[in-house]
Amino acid sequence: MKPLVELAQVIRTKNAGPYELTLDIIFKDRDGYERVKRSNSLNAALIARLYGVPEQDILEVVYFDPACAFKATMKRPLPCGDLGERDIYGAQQHAPLLDLWLPWGDEDEGS
């Protein structure tokens, strides 16, 4: 297993319009990116679990090769600026990703 923070150079969230939140993980190098992409360990089910939302609220999940990046877009819990809003820009919703560990093909190590 590898901590995501060791593999990524950017982990961020931001509004994609007032009704959607988009999450970008840009990897440090192509090897790490390709390994994660092959395993598909970053996926809609995982994002839904981390954010405690139903999987159908994850609207798009895509690996973007030119930027060595994974992107997931989800329905915002509230439209931007509605009553109860906590993060107008959606720029501080990335914390659940910071503690994430991903399979690295070494799961049996040390056993």
Binding site: A16, G17, T22
Partner: protein, 452 residues
């Protein structure tokens, strides 16, 4: 070889740029200066209220540089989404600043203004005709929501901008506008590939955010050719790299391969990014796929009342561990006290140091040794909002809970007065697509001669 040079001074008009970078940009011989002035990111207040989210003085500073340079080089200056949200008040606000700069600098030019407002009547008619559809996970649009909205704007594509340029405009001031359109209009008019022109515009609209180190307040240069474009930062301290430019393609978008806009989709499945020098990236293969009928995005906001907030801290561990029950108790007391007006207000709490940023989605909702509490009341009248916020604040201050030792007061207020009138509160009301008879249908172009 056919080539066009585009200068993007800053990510948002009013965010500023170093004079040296701007000079570097001008020395590349730009054919056009274009700047995006807007965003929905700062929330519904600005569209709803008709106010700018960038200060006037900052916009005037940038416009002074841009107008002076554009008139000296005799190249067009295009400004998109005037005033931040691109409604009529925003357009007029920006127009007055332009006229003031022209007077002070002794500049003369032909200016086109292109409002992007959608009348309530027009949108309601379009809704009845089935020409309106939701854009993403958006509530159903009703005529009631349309009536309640204060401002409704549509996002124009390149076509109205091209009409303005064809009419001889030297400065084009557009209302709500697709961000890349101000960059792509002149190239498309001159016969460049729309896919490349729009993709270049996508990258340039945030200026040096697409460089490393990134910055929203520094200039970026685009060189458009027949089958590719190049981007570079104007400042020698920044570089455009494949990683920075490709990464920017992700920014604030749902899907980086398919970028929908007015009248079609920018398709990046075939796009390649290549480092051609240490500071310059070449991009090719981006395609624009027109979609029929021509659709544009409509945005609206409506007022929901008046907001009053109070800010306080708490340091007592017993108070903090009983906080959930205390907040429930304060809510219950407040709702009971104003029970006859229950439907006319709402009360919200934000607890910083616990889950103030993420709410229910917070993976670690354990409070720290102190917490910050924001009490927020939104009500139909400012008087009621003040009354609700004040009542909730004083109730929380003196709220009795089991095990309480500090009977003088539960809250630490940093300010007197403790409550703040925020003013009118707005929410987004419309985020829909509308089909048009033709791309210029609701974007009338008017011209004026500015003489100094």
């Amino acid at each position: 070889m056919k080539q066009m040079v585009l200068l993007s001074p800053t990510a948002i008009l009013g965010y500023g740029f170093p004079a040296g970078s701007f000079e570097n940009g001008l020395s590349c011989g730009p054919h056009v200066i274009a700047v995006d002035a807007g965003s929905t990111d700062p929330g519904p207040y600005y569209l709803g209220s008709g106010k700018s989210f960038v200060p006037r003085g900052a916009v005037k500073r940038d416009l002074t540089f841009l107008l002076r340079a554009a008139r000296t080089l005799r190249i067009p200056l295009l400004i998109g989404t005037a005033g931040g949200s691109g409604a009529r008040q925003h357009l007029e606000w920006c127009r007055e600043i332009i006229l003031e700069v022209a007077r002070e600098e002794g500049l003369s030019f032909r200016m086109a203004a292109i409002p992007a407002d959608v009348s309530k009547q027009y949108l309601a008619e379009a809704l009845r005709q089935g020409r309106v559809s939701p854009l993403g996970p958006v509530p159903e649009l009703t005529e009631e929501i349309i009536t309640e909205s204060t401002n409704l704007v549509a996002q124009m594509g390149v076509e109205p901008l091209i009409e303005a340029l064809d009419g001889g405009a030297e400065v084009v001031l557009a209302g709500r506008c697709y961000d890349p359109a101000v960059f792509a209009a002149l190239p498309i008019k001159e016969g460049f590939d729309p896919g490349l022109a729009l993709h270049l515009g996508k990258i340039l609209e945030c200026a040096a955010i697409a460089a490393v180190p990134g910055s929203g307040s520094d200039c970026m240069i685009g060189l458009l050719e027949e089958s590719r474009f190049l981007v570079e930062a104007a400042s020698p301290k920044r570089q455009a790299t494949v990683a920075s430019v490709a990464a920017h393609t992700l920014y604030e978008k749902s899907n980086p391969y398919l970028l929908p806009g007015p009248g079609g989709i920018l398709d990046l499945h075939g796009t390649s990014f290549r480092q051609v020098t240490g500071r310059r990236v070449a991009v090719e293969g981006s395609r624009f796929r027109p979609v029929s009928p021509y659709t544009v995005k409509v945005e609206g906001a409506r007022m929901i009342g008046y907001r009053v907030v109070s800010i306080a801290g708490a340091r007592d561990p017993r108070f903090i561990s009983a906080l959930e029950e205390i907040l429930a108790g304060v809510r219950e007391r407040t709702e009971d006290n104003f029970s006859s007006e229950r439907r006319r207000f709402s009360l919200n709490f934000h607890v910083y140091g616990r889950d103030g940023v993420m709410g229910k989605q917070e993976p670690r909702p354990e409070p720290g040794h102190e917490v910050g509490i924001v009490l927020e009341a939104v009500a139909e009248t400012e008087e009621l909002a003040e009354a609700v916020c004040g009542f909730a604040r004083s109730t929380m201050l003196h709220f009795g809970f089991p095990g309480r030792l500090s009977t003088a007061g539960n809250l630490a207020f940093p300010y007197s007065p403790s409550d703040f009138k925020v003013g009118a509160a707005y929410v987004f009301s419309v985020h829909h697509l509308i089909t048009l008879a033709h791309p210029r249908e609701i974007f009338p172009v008017s011209f004026e001669e500015v003489r100094s």
